[in-house]
Subunit: 425 residues, 2 copies
Amino acid sequence: MTTPALGRPTIDRETCVALDAADPLSRIRSRFSLPDGVVYLDGNSLGALPRDTAAHVQRVITEEWGTGLIRSWNDAGWFAKPQTVGDLVAPLIGAGPGQVVLGDSTSSSIFQATVAAARLRPGRRVIVAERGSFPTDLYVLESVQELLGGGRPLERRLIADDGPTLDDVLDEDVAVVLLTHVDYRTGRMHDMAEVTRRIHAVGAVVVWDLCHSVGAVPVDLVGADADFAVGCTYKYLNGGPGSPSFIWVAEQHQADARPALTGWHGHAKPFDFTVDYAPASGVERFRVGTPQLLSMSALEVSLRLWAEVDLGEIREKSLCLTELFISLVDARLTPRWGVEVVTPREPARRGSQVSLRVGSGYEIMQALIERGVIGDFRAPDLIRFGFTPLYTSYADVWDAVDTLESVLDGEVWREPRFARRGTVT
Amino acid sequence: MTTPALGRPTIDRETCVALDAADPLSRIRSRFSLPDGVVYLDGNSLGALPRDTAAHVQRVITEEWGTGLIRSWNDAGWFAKPQTVGDLVAPLIGAGPGQVVLGDSTSSSIFQATVAAARLRPGRRVIVAERGSFPTDLYVLESVQELLGGGRPLERRLIADDGPTLDDVLDEDVAVVLLTHVDYRTGRMHDMAEVTRRIHAVGAVVVWDLCHSVGAVPVDLVGADADFAVGCTYKYLNGGPGSPSFIWVAEQHQADARPALTGWHGHAKPFDFTVDYAPASGVERFRVGTPQLLSMSALEVSLRLWAEVDLGEIREKSLCLTELFISLVDARLTPRWGVEVVTPREPARRGSQVSLRVGSGYEIMQALIERGVIGDFRAPDLIRFGFTPLYTSYADVWDAVDTLESVLDGEVWREPRFARRGTVT
C-alpha cells in the first residue's frame, strides 16, 4: 500500500497479520478475554481481563470465604497475601523476595513511601517532584509537606521535561525526589540508574512511581540502587479495576524506614494485640489494615501469567508495536492533519504508549471509541494509546491508525454526541 | 431438659427449633451460603457469604471489566461507587445520603478521620482513646500524634472500663476522643448520645469506631450529634474478606474537614488533572486513590440485603440470641467450670456478641472449631461468640453451648493438636 500524499510505501495490514503469526507472544493473547470488535489500546489505564480470573475469584468466594470462612485467614494464606502476591511482582521490577508488599491504592502507597523516605533525611526540608507527574503524586505530597513540616510545610521544587531540570533544583537541602519512571501523558521514560545516581550524589532519597512502567518496560530497582518504589497493578499487570498498589523498599532501608500509616497488619506481632505500635521487621511494616482479599485474588491470578513470558521479549515487542504505530502516524496522519507524536522517538526514552497532540482530542477519542478503538484522552490536548505486549497485536496497531484516519478524514468527531463530558484513567 | 448439677430447668433444643420456626428473620438465613455441619458464631470477625455475591462479582468481572473495560468507570458507575455504596451504609448508622464514603481499611479511615478531627481543634494537644480498643486504633493514633504534633507528639490519654474514666481525663486540652462503640473483646456498648454530649461539653470532637456495631445494634450518629465515624464492612455487613471500610462525617464538618490522605479521587475536579490539590466539596474529599472495585462489588450486593430487614427486628433478635446464650452458659457451664460471662448483662450495654473468660481459652476454641462451632479467641483469656441476627439461629446457640459443654466435660482441649499457633480477627 502507498500513502498517496507522500508517495512512499507504508506497511500494509497483511504484513501486520503476518507479524502476528510470527510473534512468539501471540500465544498469550488467547489467555485474555477481549470483546469482539474492539481494538483495546487502553491497557495502560485498565488492563484487560485474563481468562483465568473469573473462575479463580469465584473459587475464592465460594470455597475460601463461603466454606472456609474465618479459617481461611490461616488455611488459605490470606494473612500473608500482601507479601506472597508482592513476591510475584518482585521479578518484574528487579527486586528480590521479601522486598515488595501490596498496599491499598497508589496514592496511599505514595504517602507511605514519601513519608518514610523523608524521615530518612530529617534535617532536609525540600521535596522535588515533577509538574507533569500524575496529579495524585503532587496532591499526596502537599499533605506530606504539611504533616512532616512541623508547623512550616516542607518546600516543594517542581521540575519538568522542559525545565527546570533535576540538576537545576538538586542540592543538599533536598530530602526526597519523587519521580515517575514513565510519564503518564507523554510516555517519556527516565534512565532510572543514571537519575538515581545524580540524586544520591547530593545525599537525597529517590521514590520511583512505576505505575506506567511495571509490566511494560524492564525495571531494575536493585540494579539502579533505588530507595523506594510504588506502583499500580491494574494497568499492565491486569489485576482488575482498582487492584492493590505495591510498595518496594530497598533492603538497606527496611530496618530504618518509618511508615506513616501504622496499621496493625504492619505490626511486629499483630496477634499479640498489644497497646503499643512496633513495626514489623521487613517491608511488611508498610502494610496498613486488613487487605481487600477479593481484589487481591484477581491480581494474584493475573500475575501468574508473567511466569510464562520473558521480559526481554515483552520489551522487544513493545518497541516494535510503538515503532509501527509512530511510523504509520508519520506516514498517514501527520502530513494531512498535523498530528504530532509527543512520545520520544528514541526507544530508550520511551515506555509502552504513544501520545499524539491533536486539536479536539477529546472528541476525536470519543469517535474512535465508538468505532471500537479504545485509547484515552489526557487534558488538554493528548490522545493516548497504550500497547500491551501480552495481548496487543500488530493488526490492532494497523486498525487503530486506519480508524483514526477515517475519523479525521470524515470529520466525524464534530458530531454533537462526542462533545466532552468526562473520562477516567 | 434439666441441668443435673443445678436441678433447675433450662431451655431445650426443641424449644430453640420452635423459636426459629417463629422467627420472622429466619427467612433471611437462606440468603446465605453456610457450610454444612458448622455453627458459625464468628460473623463479628468475618461475615458469612450471601448467596447472591458470587454471581454478582462474576458479572462485574466478565461484563463490566471484561467487556466494558475502561468504559465502565463511567458506564457502570464505578467512579461514584464509594459514594453510592456508602449511601447504602448510611441508613444503618443513622446518616443521610451524601454523608458516607467508602475507604480502604478501617486503619486507613481512622487515620483520615482522626487527623481531620484534630485539625478542627488546632490549639489543643491531647487525644483520648481506649486502652481496650482494637489495637490498630492506638497504632494509627501514635502516628497521628507524631505527624500533627509539630515536633512534639500530641499527648495521648488512655481510658478503660475499669478506669481512668472519660470524666477523669476530659478537659479543655482535649482535641479528639476516639471511642469504639462496641468493645471488640467484651461486647460492652457505649451510650453514644450521652458520651458524645460529655465530649462536646469540653469542646472536643468525637470519632466513633463502629466496627463491632454497624449491622448489629442500632446506631444513630446524627441523633447522637456525633462528629466522625468509621467502620468495617466485613463483619456484620458481610462484605467479604477485607471489604472496604467506611467513613462518616457530620454535615457541619464537611466543609472544614481536612483529610490527611489527599488522593486524586478526593479532589474537587479529578479529571482536570491540575497540579494543585483542592478538596471535593463533601465527604468525597475523604476518598483517596482508585478504589478496589471487585471487593467493593461484593460489598454492594451484601448491603442490598439490608433493605429487606427492619433494624428494630435485628436488635430484638440479637438481644434474644445473646440472652439465650448467657442463660445457657449460666445454667450449664458456670457452675461446673467457672466460666465467666464478661459481656454486660444489661441489654442496653451489650452489642451482639458474648465473651467468656476461661483458662486455656485458645485451646478450648480450637477444640470447638474442630467440632464445627466457630467462634474466636482474644488474648489473653477470652473466647468470643458473635451472633448475627441475619443468619444465626436459636438452635445454633443451643448447639454451641452444648458442644462447649462436651469439650469442657471431656477435657478434649488438652489434646496436643489444639496447642496455640495463631489466629486472626
